[in-house]
Amino acid sequence: MSAIDGILDRLGELPGVRGSGVATRDGMMVASNLQGRFREDAVSGLTSFVVLTTRRALADAGEGPELTSFELHATHGRLLIEQAGDAVLIVITDQFVAIDDLKRAVRAAAEELHRETMIPETD
């Protein structure tokens, strides 16, 4: 099992989490643990769509285009997107999740993911 799979498995064990994944910024899924509930390509594509349109809208509004996280609440679930270096960590939960605890866990997972996926600089 790779380090990324380990991170996703640990996230999957948290209460309320229905699926998680790691995707590139342009919407390609690198690894996922969607528990058979969601389609991989739909989750990565829609996440990329939300991130890119938001980034463009913010740039047009004169805000810095860099997003660190995106939290989306819907009637039957929540979507958390956390920047992890060049990748994004995606977590889908039910609507009853304790959001503050989960946000902390997702942020820590994103930092770990960033460390794991970082290519060390050579002299």
């Binding site: 969601f38 829609l46 509004a61 997003l67 939290e71 609440h73 819907a74 679930g77 979507l79």
Partner: protein
């Protein structure tokens, strides 16, 4: 269509009308609306869609029906107005035709009709004013210097006619103020003052202009190009102090007061920079926002729309709240139906608290709205 077919349709129509009355639901309204449209009864279809939306305000299908019926209604009115222009051309007939095209958003047609009218009736100001207003709308939206110059040209030419329209002075005074052409703005304000007492908006503009020193401003072409290059106007629309709302795209009416207070409370919190409430094409703004056309408003609309699309496609229901964090701080949004409220603030502020305040604000506005509709 022969008589028997027609009788069958009328029978079906009666059945559907009865069904819509007895078992009202979006689908019974849609079925009936479809028959009205097939029979070219666009007025009836539109009024049915309005009735349906009063009962089911969240129904997307009913909104589509209303849009479609409205479009057909305007298209049929255009045919009548065009026939009128062909039969007895007059500035009024051209004005009516151009206004209908404008309602449909067909700017090329507006231009064509107005130019034809100007050729025939060069001394009539109404169509020039309409054309100037249409160019101005485009300029405020896209900030293209060419469109701004065209707006100024048509509005100024409307003032050269025998009956110069007062509205042209007002539009020019505001445009020149926003561009930073104070001397020109003052001249139009003076002309307005000569016609009678100024209203609250123009009085506020006068007060702002009096604070500015005279002279030393760049020429108009330069100012228009600067706005295009920088992608923004140097000044926002003048705010009327008592209302606290931008004149353009502002929400007015009964529910405005409570909303304004709630939004002002949010904007007054330490660390909150911008706060807005948007319903349809209207917006109420507080904080560091440059009027109804501020790009923050557009950004929040785009974020809410893309979030709604993603939530629906991921099968997690309808988007209702969101938080975007970045090096700018955070943007918190809350959306129900066509109402959207958003705040930009520092990231040290508790977003859960802000979201719950936004939710109260939006829910309160919807309840108030429904109450007003029911008591109207």
């Amino acid at each position: 269509m022969n008589l028997i077919q027609r009788l069958k349709i009328w029978k079906e129509l009666r059945r559907l009308e009865q069904r819509a009355q007895e078992v009202p639901s979006p689908s019974t309204f849609i079925d009936l609306g479809q028959v009205y449209i097939n029979l070219d009864m666009h007025e009836r279809a539109l009024s049915l869609a309005e009735d349906g939306l009063a009962l089911f305000p969240q129904s997307q299908e009913l909104r589509k029906l209303r849009r479609f019926a409205k479009k057909n209604q305007v298209a049929s009115a255009i045919d009548t107005a065009r026939a009128e222009v062909g039969r007895t051309p007059s500035p009024e007939a051209y004005h009516k035709l151009a206004s209908l095209h404008l309602e449909l958003g067909d700017f090329e047609a507006v231009q064509g009709v107005c130019e034809e009218c100007i050729r025939r009736f060069p001394n009539d100001p109404s169509v020039r004013l309409l054309l100037g207003r249409a160019w101005l709308t485009n300029f405020y939206r896209d900030l293209r210097a060419r469109e701004g110059a065209a707006a100024v040209e048509h509005l100024e030419r409307s003032l050269e006619t025998e009956n110069p329209p007062v509205d042209a002075h007002r539009l020019l005074a505001e445009l020149f103020w926003r561009l930073g052409a104070d001397t020109r703005s003052k001249a139009h304000l003076k002309a307005l003052e000569n016609q009678g007492p100024l209203d609250a908006e123009l009085t506020a503009l006068k007060a702002q202009l009096q604070k500015r020193p005279s002279g030393g401003e760049a020429d108009l072409e330069q100012l228009l190009h600067r706005a295009e290059t920088q992608g923004r106007l140097p000044r926002s629309a003048v705010q009327v102090p008592a209302a606290g709302v931008t004149p353009q795209g502002a929400i007015q009416g009964g529910s405005g007061g409570g909303l304004r207070d709630a939004l002002a409370n949010l904007a007054g919190r330490d660390g909150v920079r911008k706060a807005t409430y948007i319903r349809g094409s209207k917006a109420l703004v507080k904080g560091d926002i440059k009027g109804g056309r501020d790009s923050f408003l557009r950004a929040t609309r785009v974020i809410a729309r893309s979030s709604q699309r993603a939530a629906r496609r991921m099968d997690i229901g309808n988007f209702n709240k969101g938080v975007v964090r970045g090096d700018f701080g955070q943007i918190c949004l809350c959306s129900f139906g066509e109402a959207l409220a958003a705040v930009e603030c520092d990231d040290r502020i508790d977003s859960t608290e802000i979201l719950s305040e936004l939710q109260e604000l939006v829910a309160g506005s919807l309840v108030q709205n429904r109450f007003e509709e029911e008591t109207a």
